[in-house]
């Protein structure tokens, strides 16, 4: 049992970090914000904490907090103009943001060590810490989803006109979702950098953006469980099917297309909805 745990500890860490990133993507998608910015905020968090720890000699815990704060700050600054844009344009603007962060991390060699990335970051974040953080974030998001904020986000996603007619300020909730998303991504990046010894700019590019998006689409974007299930499946799948490594992207692309066409609510959310339906049916059947 212990051996099993140790041989899969790195996979578990990967799943947990991905779960955080997926939740950052889930928050915005739940509100109907087409943000692709998670990768950019994660890069900010990761680089901030890595630089503070290796160059400035800060204690890692403080560096991680500052990394998260920087992600939050960036998303707060972006949230104001972004909340005035419509769907696809939010996607393009955040895509541009990711590219800007990427080219800064690649080219500001004096600060970020360029394409080589930053090495020798002490590993202070273990599986336990990651697990604790994920549990806390899940609890936070689940609570947020249950109260009026969650309802408001759901209405905005399903139909903006209805939301406006109910007196819900769309830009306000979009800003809120976007800021939370930036904070979570910054946190995920900072934790990842203090967990994996080394970070490179390439990790936070288009590939991460696509991966994270795929997780949430696959799992479902109406409840926090969707993000968790998506992260679990897409992180574990390549490890389990090493034989098909060459066709990993074919499988992932095919999955994305199949799910968005035939199961638009995602695997987990469809399942949850079906269970709820059955329970309701049984209850009404009993009273009839």
């Amino acid at each position: 049992m212990i051996d099993f745990f140790f041989s899969y500890a790195s996979l578990l860490d990967l799943i947990l970090v991905n779960a955080l990133l997926a939740m950052s993507q889930y928050v915005v998608l739940r509100a109907g914000v087409f943000s692709l910015g998670t990768a950019g905020f994660a890069a900010l968090g990761a680089y901030t904490s890595a630089i503070l720890v290796t160059r400035a000699g800060w204690p890692p815990a403080m560096a991680i907090v500052v990394g998260m704060l920087l992600g939050t700050l960036a998303s707060t600054l972006l949230a104001v103009p972004l909340s005035r844009l419509r769907g696809v344009f939010q996607a393009v603007a955040t895509l541009a943001f990711v590219q800007i962060v990427l080219s800064v991390t690649q080219n500001w060699v004096a600060l970020t060590n360029g394409a080589l990335g930053i090495n020798g970051i002490p590993k202070v974040v273990g599986t336990g810490t990651l697990l604790a953080v994920v549990v806390l974030v899940v609890a936070f998001l689940a609570a947020m989803g249950r109260f009026s904020v969650g309802r408001a986000l759901d209405v905005i996603r399903e139909d903006e006109t209805v939301a406006v007619s109910l007196g819900i300020s769309v830009p306000r909730y979009h800003r809120l979702a976007f800021i939370v998303s930036g904070a979570l991504a910054g946190l995920a990046g900072a934790l990842h950098s203090c967990n994996s010894y080394t970070i490179t700019p390439g990790e936070y590019g288009f590939q991460m953006l696509v991966n994270v998006l795929a997780m949430v689409v696959l799992g479902g974007r109406t409840s926090v469980w969707g993000a968790l299930v998506g992260a679990l499946i897409l992180s574990a799948l390549p490890e389990l099917f090493r034989v098909f490594a060459d066709y990993r992207n074919v499988v992932q692309g095919g999955l994305l297309m199949l799910v968005i066409v035939y199961l638009p609510r995602g695997v987990a959310d469809t399942l949850v909805a079906r269970l709820r339906d059955r329970r309701l049916q049984r209850r009404t059947g009993a009273t009839a």
Partner: protein
């Protein structure tokens, strides 16, 4: 030296314009953000290259093959990735996701096919003719590319605004349901738009392959990212806007690569996109009606 760089920039920019033209057709007119457009471009380049290397096709024929391959791939993409979503009336977001999925598949297949290698056109694929005008080196290829780009833009504008087919396309773009009531078959019109868009991408692919003499499975991604910049900068759905913005981006990029550095060039291009989308999201040549689609009230 400066003039030479400007000339090179304009040539690269007109290929960018060609690529962005197909993208803006789908993005601006059909409201689809096709994330797989870069892969269509790359497959066009692959088809052209294999025609030259495998079948000794003359470059003109290879160009046409690249266009047809791009066009067919784009139509296929529509059938598999977009049509089921359109039928259901799915939100724009679904189309982005499903085209990202298609993009992953197309990329992986191309990587497998080319063994991740950088491929080149044979040296004499395009006759190397150089004219010297007032101290400038002008290659025949550069003239042909610029000419083709102008021809395509002119042709497209004529097709869209002066023919019956074009009127149908614009009717479907305005409202698919209204067009259906008027006896237009939207499926057929969409197929046309996708074919044209893919053919333009395929052509741009072969031309970029010739200009930089390298064909690689990742060649589409930087172009796709530039196309976003060009389409937004030029204005949503504006055809002349796409060409002008394409030229501008080509120019800015070539000059900043030559005089500053490649990394800074990248950052400048995306910073420009970012500023434009925040300050004037309808772009420089956007139509008046575009504001509604971009901004919230």
């Amino acid at each position: 030296m400066l003039l030479q760089q400007i000339l090179n920039g304009l040539v690269v920019g007109s290929v960018y314009g060609l690529f962005a033209l197909g993208f803006t057709l789908l993005f601006g007119i059909n409201h689809i953000m096709n994330m797989a457009h870069g892969s269509v471009f790359m497959w066009g380049a692959f088809a052209g290259l294999y025609a030259v290397v495998g079948f000794d096709a003359p470059i003109g024929v290879a160009l046409v093959i690249g266009m047809i391959a791009g066009g067919l791939m784009s139509v296929l993409l529509d059938m598999v990735a977009f049509r089921p979503l359109r039928k259901r009336g799915a939100p724009e977001f679904s189309a982005i996701v499903s085209s990202i999925g298609a993009d992953l598949i197309l990329l992986a297949l191309a990587q497998k096919l080319s063994n991740t290698a950088v491929m080149r056109f044979p040296f004499d694929a395009f006759p190397v003719v150089i004219y010297r005008v007032a101290g400038l080196r002008i290659q025949l290829l550069q003239l042909v590319i610029t000419g083709l780009a102008l021809l395509m833009v002119g042709g497209l504008v004529f097709y869209l605004y002066r023919t019956d087919f074009g009127r149908r396309i614009r009717a479907v773009a305005f409202s698919e349901q209204t067009a259906r009531l008027l006896g237009i078959n939207p499926g057929w019109v969409n197929m046309q738009v996708f074919f044209i868009s893919g053919a333009l991408a395929g052509m741009a692919g072969v031309l970029i392959g010739l200009v930089f003499n390298s064909v690689h499975f990742t060649m589409g991604e930087p172009l796709l990212l530039r196309a976003f910049v060009i389409v937004i900068l030029g204005g949503l759905g504006s055809i002349p806007g796409a060409l002008i913005a394409g030229l501008a981006i080509g120019l800015v990029q070539t000059l900043s690569v030559a005089y500053i550095s490649a990394g800074v060039a990248e950052a400048i291009v995306f910073l420009a996109l970012f500023v434009v989308i925040l300050v004037k999201p309808t772009g420089l040549f956007g139509q008046a009606g575009a504001t509604m689609r971009v901004r919230r009230a």
